[in-house]
């Protein structure tokens, strides 16, 4: 796995994302923002979404969303494979999410303690109000991050293993309750 987020940015997003490479395993964004092919993501948006990803799927004894660069993949799919209206809506909703957090917690989402971030996301997860724009954004962002995380090399080789060459097909086998290795 590439060590620098900026290197990964270049590989995944094919953008020149600033010149200074920090030679460390720095996973949180630097203060530069992302200039993609179709959309621009400012530094705040990039950091808030990274913090969102980190809160949703944190590093535990296995990699989390940031370690597999799930947030960057979401940006890439948003940039290349998403209609313009949906791109705009996603960025606008991200801003609204950030503003709502700031209003409630009097601080930036990306600066807040992980417990505070988690508590805020929990409110949205548990909310039954499907009309609430914040809940809609949370659900969409979560869905996109899960797609990115579960499509990552880590997930497909270590969690739910993808078999490229099964070399077999059995039409009828008993369902085995093999325990799956926890993440």
């Amino acid at each position: 796995m590439p060590t620098s987020r900026r290197q990964v940015l270049k590989q995944i997003l094919f953008v020149s994302a600033g010149s200074a490479l920090i030679p460390s395993c720095l996973l949180l964004p630097q203060n530069k923002g992302l200039k993609l092919k179709h959309i621009s993501v400012n530094a705040d948006q990039e950091m808030i979404f990274a913090a969102f990803a980190d809160t949703l799927i944190p590093k535990t004894d296995s990699p989390g969303a940031l370690e597999v660069h799930a947030d960057l993949f979401v940006w890439k799919m948003l940039d290349d494979c998403t209609p313009k209206e949906e791109q705009e809506k996603f960025l606008k909703s991200l801003n609204a999410f950030s503003a709502a957090f700031q209003k409630q917690q009097k601080q930036f989402f990306s600066n807040a303690a992980s417990t505070e971030r988690l508590a805020f996301l929990e409110q949205l997860e548990l909310s039954k109000d499907n009309e609430d724009p914040l809940v809609i954004f949370f659900t969409k962002a979560k869905q996109r991050l899960i797609q990115a995380y579960s499509g990552s090399e880590f997930f497909m080789t270590k969690v739910q293993v993808y078999e490229q060459i099964p070399s077999r097909f059995h039409g009828c086998v008993p369902v085995s309750n093999q325990p799956i290795k926890p993440a």
């Binding site: 809160t55 949703l56 799927i57 944190p58 535990t60 296995s62 989390g64 890439k76 799919m77 290349d80 494979c81 998403t82 209609p83 988690l118 996301l121 929990e122 997860e125 979560k142 869905q143 899960i146 995380y149 579960s150 499509g151 990552s152 090399e153 997930f155 497909m156 969690v159 739910q160 993808y162 078999e163 490229q164 060459i165 099964p166 070399s167 077999r168 097909f169 059995h170 039409g171 009828c172 086998v173 008993p174 369902v175 799956i180 290795k181 926890p182 993440a183």
Partner: protein
């Protein structure tokens, strides 16, 4: 092409010229060269060599930039090809983009093309069912099109010849509607396939669910190993080209086999403009080729010409082959060239849930599904529409995904694998009736990049097709209900003709030169050293996936040309 010495030597004369290197062109090349004929194979696209030119074949899912999905910029610029199920990040490079070779849709028609050595044989769905006399008898019995000039017995030995070389996995099912062939072992059906098969047996006289015969080497023979092909590894990533040669395409099989004889000259980047007709000799003498890079026109000569450009492009070449003898196109005295096109109706689908068999699942991957041969109007006319449909049937265990929670809880949920109930589904493959009004013609002013007229395509559904869609959905619903399937959902995609990628006809075979273009050996009635053995030759379509029949017709026609020494 620079690699080929005889081409570099500027050789212009051959024994045979084959236009196209796909499913049927590859077979013509193999059969001619095996008979010692110096053969020029013309391919309008680039070369694609087995193994070497399958750039995505070993890629893992996470190695695709968009995990397989096509970027919006590409799908918006290419609405036609983007409707094709296989136009994804792993195989998009094998498909023709909309602007690369434009055509005019007088009615909506999705023309799906693959311009490269191997053509669409690289990305095909590999289903290979034989025709029977119930199919060949169709037009004569039901009074449409014209009578086929051949019957099953004429083609049967050639089906066997092709099947042995290609490698077809299947069971000997003993069904008169779908004759058995030379089969390698079949894969297993699923428990739910078996269950559905029994339900059909119990409830109906002539509805037999079988394992769909397909071009996969389940147990390669010496002949397959000699081709350099090996056992299918059940990757089900065939559309990328197979590193094992586990399924059949021209690139892994017929083309290298022909090359090994030393008798084949393969010329990629060669767009055929027209066939040259010599009035004094009363036959064709060669072809005019436009080099797709330099746009220069070059002529090549041979005693026999096989047109295997893909059904519609074969029509286009013949329509564009005008001379004072044939002002309307080669062999087209009666104006029937380009008419009586037909295709397969793939519009209808049905899906449902099966609540039983929860103790069982599948393991590994299958490259085919179950197949229900035509059961409508087989022995006699019994519905208010002509002919009928075959159906694919598949069943698989669904997987429940728990995405509840946050943080560690979410991670744990994502790592769980819980099976849901079985899902079952089916799609129709309906015969369509060829009509004079379903036709292609040359545009009077619009030309393509190579100065060749663009093709006007006017192909549509008719009332017979609508009735068939309705009947398929009613009958499948009835069968699904008898099986106790729940949550039954039917749909009619209303997709345009063409997306089935089974377009056929326009240069139909027939007994009478007044009502057809080709005779019983696929020779143009009026220009006997020109043979057409791709989809364009089809008098009717029946319901089977057609490639196997094209290959068998091709091998049979080459045998005829060789035996007659080039006419």
């Amino acid at each position: 092409m620079a690699e080929n010495s005889s081409f570099n030597n500027g050789k212009r004369s051959f024994d045979a010229i084959v236009i196209g290197s796909g499913m049927s062109g590859g077979w013509a090349a193999k059969e001619f060269t095996e008979n010692g004929w110096n053969t020029l194979v013309l391919e309008r696209g680039r070369d694609v060599q087995h193994l070497k030119d399958y750039p995505t074949t070993n890629k893992f899912p996470w190695e695709f930039e968009h995990r397989g999905q096509m970027p919006l910029e590409i799908t918006q610029a290419n609405p036609v090809i983007s409707r094709c199920y296989a136009f994804k990040e792993d195989a998009a490079h094998f498909f023709v983009k909309d602007q690369e070779h434009p055509y005019q849709q007088e009615l909506p028609f999705d023309w799906i093309r693959g311009y490269q050595v191997g053509g669409k044989s690289i990305m095909w769905a590999r289903q290979t069912q034989r025709w029977s006399d119930f199919d060949f008898d169709g037009p004569a019995r039901d009074g449409f099109a014209v009578d086929w000039p051949i019957r099953y017995k004429d083609l049967a030995p050639w089906y066997s010849h092709v099947e042995k070389f290609v490698g077809i996995s299947g069971n000997k099912d003993g069904l008169s509607i779908l004759p058995d062939g030379e089969f390698l072992p079949a894969l297993e059906l699923t428990c739910v396939d078996h269950y559905f098969k029994e339900i059909l047996q119990k409830n109906y006289q002539n509805r037999h669910l079988i394992y769909g015969r397909c071009a996969h080497l389940t147990e390669p023979t010496a002949l397959h190993l000699e081709q350099g092909r090996g056992q299918c590894q059940k990757r089900n990533l065939c559309q990328r080209g197979c590193p094992f040669g586990g399924y059949f395409n021209s690139n892994s099989s017929t083309i290298p086999w022909a090359a090994k004889t030393g008798k084949m000259t393969l010329r990629p980047f060669s767009v055929v403009h027209s066939i040259i007709y010599d009035e004094q000799k009363g036959k064709a003498t060669g072809v005019r080729v436009i080099d797709s890079h330099t746009k220069e026109m070059v002529e090549y000569y041979a005693k026999v010409i096989f047109v295997n450009a893909g059904a519609l492009n074969t029509n286009l070449i013949l329509l564009n082959s005008t001379s004072s003898r044939f002002p309307q196109g080669l062999g087209n005295d009666h104006g029937l060239l380009g008419k009586f096109l037909a295709f397969h109706n793939y519009r209808a689908r049905i899906n449902a849930t099966h609540e039983g068999h929860l103790e069982s699942t599948t393991d590994g991957r299958s490259h085919t599904s179950a197949y229900l041969p035509r059961f409508r109007n087989v022995e006699k006319q019994e519905t208010d529409f002509l002919r009928g449909y075959a159906a694919g049937f598949s069943s698989y265990r669904s997987v429940k995904r728990n995405t509840q929670g946050l943080g560690l809880a979410l991670k744990q949920h994502l790592a769980e694998k819980e099976l849901g109930p079985w899902q079952v589904g089916s799609h129709m493959m309906g015969e369509t009736i060829p009509k004079a009004t379903n036709q292609v013609s040359l545009h009077t002013s619009l030309k393509d990049e190579w100065g060749i007229p663009q093709l006007n395509i006017r192909v549509g559904y008719d009332d017979n097709d609508e009735k068939m869609v309705k009947d398929y959905l009613e009958q499948m619903t009835d069968m699904f209900q008898k099986a106790g399937f729940t949550n039954i959902k039917t749909s009619d995609s209303k997709q345009a003709p063409g997306l089935d990628i089974h377009e056929m006809g326009g240069v139909r075979m027939g007994k009478d030169p007044k009502t057809s273009l080709l005779n019983e050996f696929n020779q143009l009635h009026e220009c006997k050293n020109v043979y057409v053995t791709d989809g364009a030759c089809m008098t009717s379509t029946s319901t089977q996936n057609p490639s196997l029949t094209y290959m068998a017709l091709t091998a049979r026609a080459v045998d005829h040309a060789v035996r007659n020494g080039g006419i």
